[in-house]
């Protein structure tokens, strides 16, 4: 009998009395907890990968349309009276292109409509014509077919991002009453019944929305009435000035309530009207600009529908018909633009013109070379990333040429030569801290020291490269130190043994063996520098730079900053361009990281 069991006999409930619960139930519970834990772990990894997949797929799906652009292959007459062969800069090339459009649609005469028609093409069309004339001066006086990029809204519309376009080819005969102006088109069957039914559904939806609003007004009225009642109770006890305030308030509330009663009545009446039209069978409905737009393409012309019944359409001719003869079934079409005109930037007239140009085979979709050859621009259809790519290249060149020698030399010194004292400890702590400093602080350093104190040019790749070199330095130093540490001491001692000096040991033996690790670290550091934005914003690279930079002191921008600038722009077409630029940036980064991994796998030796 030991003391312990004696003790437990005296103190019931001590730990030695507890019997383990060996029941199968508990084992099952423990295994269930194990399975849950494992599932949570797997779930965490799957969540991270799902987010990555969402990110990549969103960017790619938004960015792919930006790699194609729609051009209009217009026949442009290079008018010799307009173009002076001795002074090619003075001609109004945009007017020549516009003239081509006006000639295609001679029925457009009003100034506002003509401006809309001219707005189909990019405002940079004159540059294209001018460069053509400069390279082919012998063609002045002839008509040439030139590829003019479409304006950015038109481009978005043509890519189908603004609205869906549905086409129906009914088999009934259609008889128009005229070739221009307001016409009526009578079909031989109930071909418009489906459109009529859809429109009525929309009217019903609008009606119930108006009734909801009326109900909300009624709630407001009720709350006003309740407040008036409370105030009237208070009025009985109030005296003097307070009495006046309460009376004023009551009358104000009363007036508001009456106003709202009127509004509610109006809403209810409108809702009732719409509902009546919607519930009636047959009849005809007016198409407003908050409903899908309907066009009829017949006899080479285009009619916009204003009023629809099951067999008859009343509309306005946008492009004249060639004749008023009846068109047989299968020779005319119904076009429906499902997004209402009030929700689109490209209105019905422009959509009609584009449809006609498309059937003329004037509209072509091509690879967007402008994306990769031109610099930034305020117009999305003229903007490209080439300026940013050149700027990135110049900046990274400076970064590499500054940080690689300094980083490797510093790491060699710290690893091999530095005595183990407090100073070198301090330097080591310093470098580790520098690696964790937020990047924007480096930007502040660049701003205060390089721009203000040294007076270097703003927004130049030189300054950007210097700031990024300071940021990449700790990464390279840490990677080089790790690579040097991995080389076994036996190599060093063998070299010393055959009479090499310390510097010779490093430069002839250790460094070449550590080089793969050093290069891997450098490539990863460069990849991080390529993606950096914040410090470069501080030194002014956020300016709007149109020209491609030519040297290290020209104003430039880099690819991530270009992405940032475009992400802030209001034009809708810039969303696709930004996503495309992100795709290009990610491609560069993936290539650099793959290169680093390849280097590591092929050349790194395990000692």
């Amino acid at each position: 009998m030991t003391d312990a069991s004696a003790r437990s006999a005296q103190q019931p409930g001590s730990v030695l009395d507890r019997k383990p619960d060996l029941s199968a139930k508990r084992v099952k519970r423990r295994y269930a907890a194990e399975a849950r834990f494992r599932a949570i772990g797997l779930g965490a990894i799957l969540a991270a990968m799902a987010v990555l997949a969402t990110l990549v797929s969103t960017i790619v799906s938004q960015g792919l349309p930006a790699f194609t652009q729609y051009d209009l292959d217009l026949p442009v007459y290079l008018d010799p009276t307009e173009i002076d062969a001795d002074n090619l800069n003075a001609a109004n090339y945009q007017a020549l292109v516009r003239r081509s459009l006006y000639e295609r649609f001679p029925e457009v005469t009003q100034r506002r409509e003509k401006r809309k028609l001219a707005g189909l093409i990019s405002s940079g069309a004159d540059i294209i014509v001018k460069s053509y004339v400069e390279s082919h001066p012998d063609r002045i006086g002839t008509t040439q077919i030139l590829s003019i990029p479409a304006a950015d809204d038109i481009d978005t519309y043509l890519k189908g991002q603004m609205t869906d376009i549905l086409e129906f080819t009914p088999q009934a005969e259609l008889s128009p009453t005229g070739v221009s102006g307001d016409v009526q088109l009578l079909a031989s069957g109930d071909v418009f019944a489906a459109i009529l039914a859809d429109t009525k559904i929309l009217l019903e939806v609008e009606s119930s929305r108006l009734m909801d609003n009326a109900r909300r007004e009624q709630l407001g009225i009720d709350s006003y009435r309740a407040e008036i009642k409370t105030l009237q109770v208070q009025l009985e006890d109030a005296l003097g000035a307070r009495r006046e305030t309460i009376e004023d308030r009551i009358s104000a509330l009363d007036a508001q309530a009456n106003r709202r009663v009127l509004t509610a009545a109006q809403l209810n009446e409108k809702a009732a009207n719409l509902s009546e039209v919607a519930r009636s069978t047959g009849g005809s409905v007016d198409l407003t600009d908050e409903m899908p737009s309907i066009f009829l393409e017949v006899n080479g012309g285009l009619v916009k529908a204003n009023r629809v019944s099951s067999q008859l359409v009343e509309g306005t001719v946008i492009h004249p018909l060639t004749s008023a003869a009846p068109a047989a079934g299968g020779e005319w079409k119904i076009l429906e633009l499902t997004t209402p005109e009030s929700n689109r930037r490209v209105k019905d007239r422009e959509a009609a013109w584009l449809h006609i140009l498309k059937s003329d085979n004037i509209i072509e979709s091509r690879f967007a070379t402008v994306m990769f050859t031109s610099g930034d621009s305020r117009e999305p259809e003229l903007a490209g990333i080439w300026g940013a790519v050149v700027g990135s290249f110049l900046t990274l060149f400076i970064t590499l040429s500054l940080s690689f020698p300094v980083g490797v030399l510093a790491a060699i010194y710290l690893e091999e030569f530095a005595p183990q004292n407090r100073l070198t400890d301090l330097i080591e702590v310093n470098i580790n801290n520098l690696a964790a400093v937020p990047s924007i602080v480096f930007g502040l350093l660049g701003l205060a020291m390089f721009l203000n104190f040294f007076g270097l040019p703003r927004s130049a790749p030189l300054v950007g490269g210097m700031v990024l070199a300071l940021m990449t330095l700790p990464t390279i130093i840490i990677a080089t130190r790790a690579a040097l540490k991995a080389v076994p001491p036996s190599i060093r001692e063998a070299a010393l043994g055959i009479g090499a000096s310390k510097v010779q040991v490093i430069t002839h033996h250790v460094l070449p063996l550590a080089m793969p690790g050093v290069l891997t670290g450098t490539i990863i550091g460069m990849a991080q520098a390529l993606g950096e934005t914040a410090p470069l914003l501080m030194i002014g690279m956020v300016a709007f730079i149109v020209d491609i930079p030519g040297g290290f002191t020209d104003p430039a921008t880099v690819l991530p900053v270009q992405i940032y600038i475009w992400a802030d722009s209001p034009e809708r077409a810039f969303v696709a361009k930004t996503s495309a630029a992100i795709m290009v940036l990610l491609t560069f980064l993936v290539m650099m990281n793959a290169l680093a991994v390849l280097l590591r796998r092929r050349f790194e030796r395990r000692w």
Partner: protein, 461 residues
């Protein structure tokens, strides 16, 4: 001649010097290189160093000091009649005008004869200085070659000299890292000190109203600027908390799964995926947050009747958390792998399941490292710029509601410095004060994290 061209010429001459030195060493040895102390190559490098180093030092000094000297010359050459009674900024404008006129750029005033004369003088001075620089540098190179060659002798310890200079170069390289830190601290403190002469540090650190405006005249609208940074700190704190709430569970659990449960196939897919997440530039995350995540939250919120801002802290915080996941995951993975296998084996031997081992043995053992990793991640989240610039709001808002728009320290730094305010105003200097606070806080967090790891780390062997 431009600076890059001069550098190229000096480099070519240095290469030439190498060959000259080497051949001279061979000549001096009378064909028998064995009697030389050092290999002929070292003699060559010796001469090349004599050629390049003095020239490059003089070139660097000239490029740095030259523009400043030219400006002093310009100021002294301007007649007193033009410079009398000008405020410093007007004087600055005059100097800039002279410089622009000399280089052919746009001038802000119509050039009078005095200005033209000053510009011509400045242009002349620049040309003379440039020419002198070229002449001096190139002649230094040539003289260096001559001097170096003269030293070549069979007994000269060329290798030792070369190695000594090499060591000096290495020490200079290491000191650049120290100089960088000193530079950061000095520039931040200098500019922040200028700010604190205009706004008291007490108001800055504890004030509750952030509306950074400075008026040019007292009666202008922006005359009542407030520089209390507490709302900004609160916004940073809120977004960091949300980011940590996303990153720490997901990062920790993926690290646990990858180090304990995952087979080689899962590891082969998950580890590169996490590395890709880490390698995506933050501007891409910001774009994703601003254009996809924030509208999604807003639509979702409107659907269930909540009022979600289109720049909510929730969207920015979540995307920032996603960015930090690989950080937490890889650091925790390293720490958990460092726990020795003997502890795990002991636990399994007692009959514990894997999850019980992790919860009761490995995590407590790795806890200091994990805490250190989380603190480092917090420091990264605080210093993150692009995600919040694109997805978080601009107005300082003191709130704990993640559905509202808040602003952070880094957003304010960017907004204040990317505008076109003059550099002296309290508005732009406030950015430096914020930068100083940011630097100090992240530095303290890092040091704290490292000290925790070092203090509580178990030594198992």
């Amino acid at each position: 001649m431009s600076a890059p061209l001069i550098i190229l010429v000096v480099a070519l001459l240095a290469t030439l010097a190498y060959y000259l030195g080497r051949s001279r060493a061979a000549a001096v040895s009378g064909g028998n290189t064995a009697i030389l102390h050092s290999l002929p190559g070292y003699h060559g490098v010796y001469v090349a160093m004599w050629a390049a180093i003095p020239a490059m030092l003089v070139l660097t000094a000239w490029l740095i000091i030259g523009p400043q000297l030219a400006e002093w010359y310009l100021l002294s050459a301007l007649p007193d009649s033009q410079t009398a009674g000008l405020t410093p900024s007007q004087l600055n404008l005059l100097v800039t005008d002279v410089k622009n006129l000399a280089t052919g750029n746009i001038v802000s005033r119509t050039p009078d004869p005095g200005l033209i004369r000053a510009a011509e003088g400045y242009a002349n001075a620049l040309t003379i200085s440039n020419a002198a620089m070229v002449v001096v540098v190139l002649s230094l190179t040539v003289m260096g070659i001559a001097v170096g060659r003269r030293h070549i002798d069979p007994d000269m310890r060329a290798r030792n000299q070369v190695e000594r200079i090499f060591t000096v170069i290495m020490i200079a390289a290491s000191s650049i890292a120290v100089l960088t830190t000193i530079g950061i601290v000095a520039s931040l403190i200098f500019e922040a000190a200028r700010f604190f002469t205009k706004v008291s540090w007490y108001e800055f650190l504890f004030g509750l109203q952030w509306s950074p405006q400075t008026a040019l005249r007292a009666e202008q609208v922006g005359a009542s600027g407030a520089f209390g940074a507490v709302p900004i700190f609160a916004g940073t704190f809120l977004i960091t908390i949300i980011a940590m709430a996303v990153a720490v569970p997901i990062g920790l659990f993926s690290a646990i799964y990858m180090s304990e449960y995952a087979g080689p196939k899962v590891r082969g897919i998950a580890k590169p995926a996490l590395e890709v997440l880490a390698g995506v530039p933050t501007v891409v995350y910001g774009f994703f947050a601003a254009l996809t995540v924030a509208p999604m939250f807003r639509g979702f919120g409107e659907g269930i009747g909540l009022d979600v801002s289109s720049e909510s802290a929730l969207a920015a915080g979540m995307v920032m958390g996603i960015m930090i996941i690989p950080f937490v995951s890889s650091l925790s993975d390293d720490v958990m792998n460092a726990v020795p296998q003997t502890l795990r084996d002991g636990s399994y031997a007692l009959g514990a399941t894997k999850s019980e081992t992790i919860k009761q043995v490995i995590l407590p053992a790795a806890l200091p490292g994990i805490v250190g990793a989380v603190l480092l991640a917090v420091s990264r989240a605080i210093g993150e710029t692009m995600i919040v610039v694109m997805a978080a709001g601009l107005a300082a808002n003191l709130t704990a509601n993640p559905l509202e728009a808040v602003t952070t320290v880094t957003v304010q730094i960017v907004t204040l410095l990317v505008g076109d305010q003059e550099f002296d105003s309290a508005k732009t200097l406030a950015a430096f004060a914020l930068g100083l606070v940011l630097f100090v806080v992240t530095l303290c967090l890092n040091i704290f994290a490292l000290s925790i790891v070092r203090k509580y780390r178990e030594k198992y062997d």
